[in-house]
């Protein structure tokens, strides 16, 4: 446990000891701040059915930085250790491969959570200024942030896997972005294959992050995506471990 704690702490510290985390945080707040402002502006144009929370989590200003976040956060995780050779002192210390993989994943997940934390402040400010809640019910906050966490877990674990495949950060980043985009685009299948039938449409709606977010940000929490994301995360972490262990045979 002490070994795991040390590994995790180093992961988090290395992100905050370099400008990376701060730069990402700055731009994320800039874009989401604008996004929140836009959401509030919608309300000023008269009565609407959507709440601020719904409009906050369902715009291009939310999805675009959201998707860009993962390659940026995960690409260095393993690649940098391979490239700089620090993997050698790391793996000649008495640490297990699973400890390293989990520490890296949970470290970057923590960073991801910290990055989204300030957005909660927006809703607090809204409540403080207008004495109105930004959402219809508590479930809307819970749903949105729960889905944010679940999607984050899955995409971060995918990023971990891509980073464990190569010693080049950029390659890892591009792979991560491509694979995540593919998953994200499943929602668009219904547009492409709109007339092909019920099944296709069903699949696309179930897996589409956009549709899921529409539901969750209304406070409608579906257990299917929850299970799906957890299982996918576990699978990606398992693959990461396999690929990380395979480095011994590759070298």
């Amino acid at each position: 446990m002490r070994v795991f704690g040390a590994l995790w702490k180093r992961e988090v510290a290395s992100a905050f000891h370099t400008p990376m985390a701060w730069v990402i945080l700055f731009f994320l707040m800039l874009v989401t701040g604008f996004n929140f402002y836009a959401g509030v502006t919608v309300l000023n144009h008269g009565a609407t059915e959507v709440t601020v929370v719904e409009s906050f989590f369902n715009t291009i200003f939310f999805w675009f930085p959201f998707l860009l976040l993962f390659p940026l956060l995960t690409m260095r995780l393993f690649s940098e250790e391979f490239r700089s050779g620090t993997i050698e002192p790391l793996m000649t210390a008495p640490v297990r491969d699973t400890q390293v993989v989990l520490a890296k994943f949970l470290g970057v997940l923590f960073l991801y959570c910290v990055l989204w934390l300030p957005t909660g402040v927006y809703f607090l400010i809204f409540w403080w200024q207008t004495h109105l809640t930004a959402a219809g019910a508590v479930g809307a906050y819970l749903g949105s942030y729960l889905l944010l966490l679940l999607m984050g877990m899955f995409y971060l674990s995918l990023g971990c896997f891509c980073s464990s495949l190569t010693r080049h950060q950029i390659t890892a980043g591009v792979m991560t972005f491509a694979v995540i985009s593919l998953f994200f685009m499943t929602g668009l299948l219904s547009f492409l294959a709109g007339h092909t039938g019920q099944l296709m449409q069903g699949v696309s709606i179930t897996f589409s992050p956009i549709d899921q977010m529409t539901q969750f940000s209304r406070g409608i929490i579906d257990t299917r995506p929850i299970v799906c994301y957890l299982v996918m995360t576990a699978l990606c972490l398992f693959l990461t471990l396999q690929s990380f262990q395979a480095r011994r045979w590759r070298s």
Binding site: R2, S14, P89, T92, A93, P94
Partner: protein
């Protein structure tokens, strides 16, 4: 402490280590000597559990490196070649992190880190970012990392490479000091370094151990015709006549004039087994030469090394010029 049996490892078609066997006892300082690409680093990486071997068995303090990897790894302090470190960490923070990884208890970490800092003379840079340190300091941070949990065995891959002469001297004396408490296996391609620090030398070439022994034993067993090489420098009337006179002595195999023209003339004399300096001196006295130097040359480790590695004693200076040169007696 370390026992290696039939170790083999290849990278694709390149065989880096071939059927290697050796052992190192507690308290020994053993030097791994060989040209670049001899398989030293590969062997060390396998010993430290970083690389798997294709075949063979490695035991570290009785633990199988492949089967009981964690136990074996916790008994080794490893200094990798080129010392990869995290540039964004501070020296003390890094050593604390490494101590935690190596299972040092939380309340003892502080003390062990301070010990390591002191031992490696890092006290005044302990709060500096590793990325801003010079090569010599980075090397010492690597060494402090290897030492921090006081492992039984230290494996140091080229500990003095890239350092300036002052730093080299410091690191060497540090290693000598460590010998009292640790078993040390170090690699080098600088011969004088191994001669100065190690009690035993393993010479490796192309993945095999080609010779092993103390520097003295190696000298005795070298495949170089070292019977006796004597250098004579004297004031003679007629150098050519003198050379002829020397060559005609029955124990002389061959003689060459190496310096001529000035007041002093020097000769390199290859003779049969044994010390023939008294006879040579007698001859000089008989002929009225005034002798300034009469010395027999012992083979340096460098020549021995070259003879083992290439089988060609003529090619000298494999090392990067740091060696002590010919030993005169």
């Amino acid at each position: 402490m370390i026992s290696v049996q039939g170790l083999s490892k290849s990278y694709g078609p390149t065989q880096a280590v071939r059927d290697l066997s050796f052992s190192v006892d507690r308290g020994e300082v053993v030097g791994f000597l060989g040209p670049n690409g001899a398989g030293k680093s590969t062997t060390m990486k396998i010993l430290c559990g970083y690389l798997p071997a294709d075949a063979g068995e490695v035991r570290i303090a009785g633990f199988d490196v492949f089967g009981e990897s964690l136990k074996a790894r916790s008994r080794i302090g490893y200094l990798p070649e080129n010392v990869p470190l995290y540039p964004e960490m501070r020296v003390r923070e890094y050593l604390g992190y490494r101590a935690a990884l190596k299972g040092v208890r939380a309340r003892r970490t502080e003390e062990k880190v301070l010990d390591a800092l002191e031992l490696c003379h890092l006290g005044h840079v302990r709060n500096q970012l590793i990325g801003t340190l010079s090569k010599g300091y980075r090397q010492r941070v690597g060494l402090a990392d290897a030492l921090v949990n006081e492992p039984d065995i230290l494996v140091l891959d080229e500990p003095t490479i890239g350092l300036d002469p002052n730093q080299i001297r410091e690191v060497r004396s540090l290693i000598k000091g460590l010998a009292a408490r640790h078993t040390v296996l170090l690699s080098s391609h600088i011969l004088s370094e191994v001669e100065m620090t190690c009690s035993r030398v393993l010479i490796m070439n192309r993945g095999r151990i080609v010779a092993t022994g103390t520097p003295g034993e190696l000298r005795k067993n070298a495949r170089v015709p070292l019977g006796g090489s004597v250098r004579l420098e004297a004031r003679v009337q007629d150098p050519d006549a003198a050379l002829k006179a020397i060559t005609s002595l029955d124990f002389v195999a061959s003689a060459t004039m190496t310096g001529e023209g000035g007041e002093w003339t020097s000769f390199e004399i290859e003779s049969s087994e044994g010390d023939h300096r008294p006879e040579l001196f007698g001859e000089a006295v008989r002929r009225g030469w005034i002798v300034r130097e009469l010395s027999s040359r012992e083979a340096t480790l460098e020549e021995i090394f070259t003879s083992f590695v290439t089988g060609d004693p003529e090619r000298e200076s494999v090392s990067s010029g740091d060696s002590t040169g010919g030993k005169q007696s």
